[in-house]
C-alpha cells in the first residue's frame, strides 16, 4: 500500500480499480465512439494509446499524466459526466491541463447529480507505482491510497 497527496480539483470520495494511461489521454479519441454509439462502459477508442485502447473506462480510477488533443476535450468530458459515462475519478500525475480542467469545472458547475473527484499533481512516482486493477481510494483532502 502506498499513499500519494495531490491537489483537489473536484472534491469527493471514491474507491475504484485503477486504469492507467502512461501517455497523455486523448479525450476526444478515447470517448467519442463511446458517446456516439451508446457504449455505456465507455470503451477507449484511441488507437494511439496502447495502455487504454479497447478497455472500459466507466467506473475506473483513471490514472494519467494529462489529457492531450482536440479542444473538444473538456466538452467531451462534460458530456461523459452528463451521460453518466465518466470514470469514477481522474487522477493526474502532473498539474492538470486546460482541457481536462474545463471538463472538471463544467461538470462541477453545470451537472447536478454527478460526482467525479479529480486530483492532480500526484507526481511521477504515482504513475510509476500504480498498475491496472490496483484498488484506489480517494479521500476528500486529495489523499490517494493505492493497494495491490
Amino acid at each position: 500500500m502506498k499513499q500519494f497527496k495531490g491537489r483537489v480539483i473536484a472534491e469527493g470520495e471514491v474507491k475504484a480499480p485503477a486504469l492507467v494511461s502512461h501517455g497523455g489521454l486523448n479525450t476526444l479519441a478515447s470517448f467519442q465512439k463511446a458517446l456516439q454509439f451508446g457504449d455505456k462502459k465507455a470503451t477507449c477508442g484511441d488507437q494511439n494509446n496502447p495502455d487504454l485502447y479497447g478497455k472500459q473506462m466507466v467506473g475506473t480510477a483513471l490514472c494519467l499524466p494529462q489529457t492531450i488533443g482536440s479542444t473538444t476535450g473538456g466538452l467531451v468530458l462534460y458530456c461523459a459526466c452528463a451521460m453518466k459515462r465518466q470514470p469514477a475519478c481522474m487522477l493526474f500525475s502532473k498539474p492538470i491541463d486546460s482541457l481536462a480542467a474545463a471538463g472538471a469545472v463544467l461538470a462541477d458547475v453545470w451537472v447536478d447529480d454527478v460526482t467525479m473527484p479529480v486530483i492532480d499533481s500526484l507526481g511521477d512516482e504515482f504513475l510509476e507505482y500504480v498498475k491496472d486493477g490496483m484498488t484506489i481510494t480517494v479521500d476528500i483532502d486529495g489523499t490517494v491510497t493505492v493497494e495491490d
Binding site: Q47, S70, T71, L75, Y78, M83, S98, A101, V105
Partner: protein
C-alpha cells in the same frame, strides 16, 4: 488561490445579470483559479471561434446547455466562426454511411445550427477550422486576447499571428466570449509564452510539415517549443507558403501533443521580436534529423482490418486547405497524372477548404483544372466524416496527422499521397 475580481465581474458573479450569467462567470473563475490566475482580462478580438460545429445526437447535454444560455438571454456580444460542418453530399458515402450520418449521428445538426445563429454565428458560410484565412476574415491582431477553441486555430493564432489564447475547451470558448473576460494564465502571460524546449532541425531536406509537427508534439506535449533551423527551409517572411506550412505543422503539434504555441526562429512574430530571450533557462533540447522523422513515421499504427487494402478514399485538408495549397496541389495532381498516363485520380480524393476559400478558388482558372482531374472539393470536416464505426474497415489515406491521430486514416507524406492518387501507389 482566490482571484481578484473587479466590481463588474464580482457583481456578475453575485447575480447582477441573472443566475445563468452568474454560473457562466463562476465557470470561468473556477477554471482560472485552477491555474493560479490572479485576474480576469477582457477579450479584445473582434470575433470569437468555437470548436463545436456538429449536431451529434450524443452531445445532447451540450445542446441543453446552449438552450439554457439562450433562454436566459446571455448570448455573446461577439460574432463567431465555428469548425466545419460534418456532412457534405459532395463527399462520397455509401447508402449505409449516409443512413448512419443522417439518421443516427448528426440528427441534431439543423437544430444546433439554429442555436448557433441565435448565439451569434457570423454567417452561414462561417464553418471552418481555418477561420484566420484572409478569405474568411476572422484573423486576430498581434497581442489581442481571444476566447477561442479548436486546437489547430489556437496554435496558429498564438504562433503565427501573435495573438494570446489558451487551449480552451469547447463551451469554455463560448462562455469567455459571453462574459467578455477570460482568466489570465498560461499563454496569456509573457512567462507562459517562453519556451521549455529548443528543437534543432538538422534535416538534409525540407521536413514534411505534418510529420515534423507530430514529432515535436509527441516530444514536448503541452510545452512551448522554440524551433531553430526551420527558417532555412521556410525563409524569413510569413508568405502564403510559409503560413500554409505552419498551419499544417501546428495542427500536428496540437493534435499529436498538446502544443498551444510554438516559436520559429527568424520567422514567427515573437521569435523575430525577442529571439532567444524566449527560451527559458534549462530548456530541454530535441534534435530532429531525417532518421528521427522516419522513426516517428514508422511508429504510427495501421489499424485497417486489411493492412494491404487498396485505399478507397483520400482526404486532404485537415485543417482546411489554403487557397495557395489548392492551387499548388492542382498543379501537382496534373503533373502526377501526366507522368502516370492517367486522366483522373485513381482513388476518390477530397480536398477540403473553408466555404470562403472554395468560393475564391472557384473564381480562379485552377478550379476547372482541378475538377478535370477528378478531385472533389468540399467544406466538410474529414474528422467528423470518419467518426463512425464503418470507417474503421474503410481504408482512408491522408497526409493529415491530425486525421490520423483521431481516426483510422493512414498517414502518407505529400509525395506518397500524390503517388497513391495519381498512380495507385509506387508501382
Amino acid at each position: 488561490m482566490a482571484m481578484l475580481l473587479n466590481e463588474e465581474q464580482q457583481a456578475i458573479l453575485n447575480g447582477s445579470k441573472g443566475e445563468t450569467m452568474a454560473k457562466v462567470m463562476k465557470t470561468m473563475v473556477k477554471y482560472g483559479e485552477i491555474f493560479g490566475a490572479e485576474r480576469m482580462v477582457p477579450v479584445t478580438s473582434k470575433y470569437n471561434h468555437l470548436v463545436t460545429s456538429f449536431g451529434l445526437k450524443a452531445m445532447t447535454a451540450v445542446y441543453e446547455l446552449m438552450d439554457q444560455l439562450l433562454e436566459a438571454g446571455v448570448a455573446s456580444g461577439q460574432k463567431f466562426t465555428v469548425d466545419p460542418r460534418p456532412i457534405d453530399k459532395n463527399v462520397p458515402a455509401n447508402l449505409l454511411q449516409k443512413a448512419i450520418f443522417n439518421l443516427a449521428m448528426y440528427t441534431k445538426q439543423e437544430e444546433y445550427e439554429e442555436q448557433l445563429k441565435k448565439l451569434g454565428l457570423l454567417s452561414d458560410s462561417s464553418f471552418t477550422c481555418t477561420c484566420y484565412m484572409d478569405e474568411v476574415g476572422n484573423k486576430p491582431q498581434y497581442g489581442e486576447v481571444l476566447s477561442w477553441a479548436e486546437s489547430s486555430a489556437v496554435v496558429y493564432a498564438n504562433s503565427v499571428l501573435g495573438a494570446r489564447c489558451n487551449r480552451n475547451s469547447g463551451i469554455i470558448d463560448l462562455m469567455g466570449s459571453i462574459v467578455g473576460y477570460v482568466p489570465e494564465f498560461g499563454l496569456l502571460t509573457d512567462e507562459g509564452r517562453r519556451a521549455k524546449w529548443v528543437v534543432r532541425i538538422n534535416t538534409e531536406k525540407k521536413p514534411e510539415a505534418q510529420l515534423l509537427g507530430s514529432a515535436i508534439g509527441m516530444k514536448v506535449m503541452e510545452d512551448v517549443p522554440y524551433v531553430i533551423g526551420l527558417d532555412k527551409w521556410l525563409g524569413n517572411e510569413l508568405d502564403d507558403a510559409a503560413c500554409t506550412y505552419l498551419k499544417d505543422f501546428g495542427a500536428a503539434t496540437a493534435s499529436n501533443g498538446a502544443v498551444g504555441l510554438y516559436h520559429i526562429d527568424g520567422l514567427t512574430p515573437e521569435a523575430k521580436n525577442f529571439g532567444h530571450d524566449l527560451i527559458l533557462e534549462g530548456a530541454e533540447e530535441y534534435v530532429i534529423d531525417d532518421a528521427e522523422l522516419e522513426r516517428v513515421k514508422a511508429s504510427y499504427p495501421v489499424i485497417w482490418k486489411n493492412k494491404n487494402a487498396k485505399p478507397k478514399l483520400c482526404f486532404m485538408g485537415c485543417p482546411h486547405m489554403s487557397l495557395e495549397q489548392l492551387k499548388t496541389w492542382t498543379v501537382r495532381v496534373e503533373e502526377g497524372l501526366k507522368a502516370s498516363g492517367n486522366k483522373k485520380v485513381v482513388i476518390p480524393t477530397v480536398f477540403t477548404a473553408s466555404p470562403a476559400v472554395l468560393e475564391a478558388f472557384s473564381k480562379t482558372e485552377f478550379a476547372d483544372r482541378l475538377k478535370a482531374t477528378g478531385v472533389i472539393t468540399s467544406y466538410i470536416c474529414p474528422l467528423m466524416y470518419m467518426n463512425n464505426p464503418l470507417c474503421k474497415s474503410m481504408p482512408v489515406i491522408t497526409s493529415s496527422n491530425k486525421l490520423r491521430t483521431y481516426t483510422s486514416a493512414r498517414y502518407y507524406t505529400d509525395d506518397e499521397i500524390l503517388s497513391e492518387i495519381t498512380k495507385g501507389g509506387n508501382n
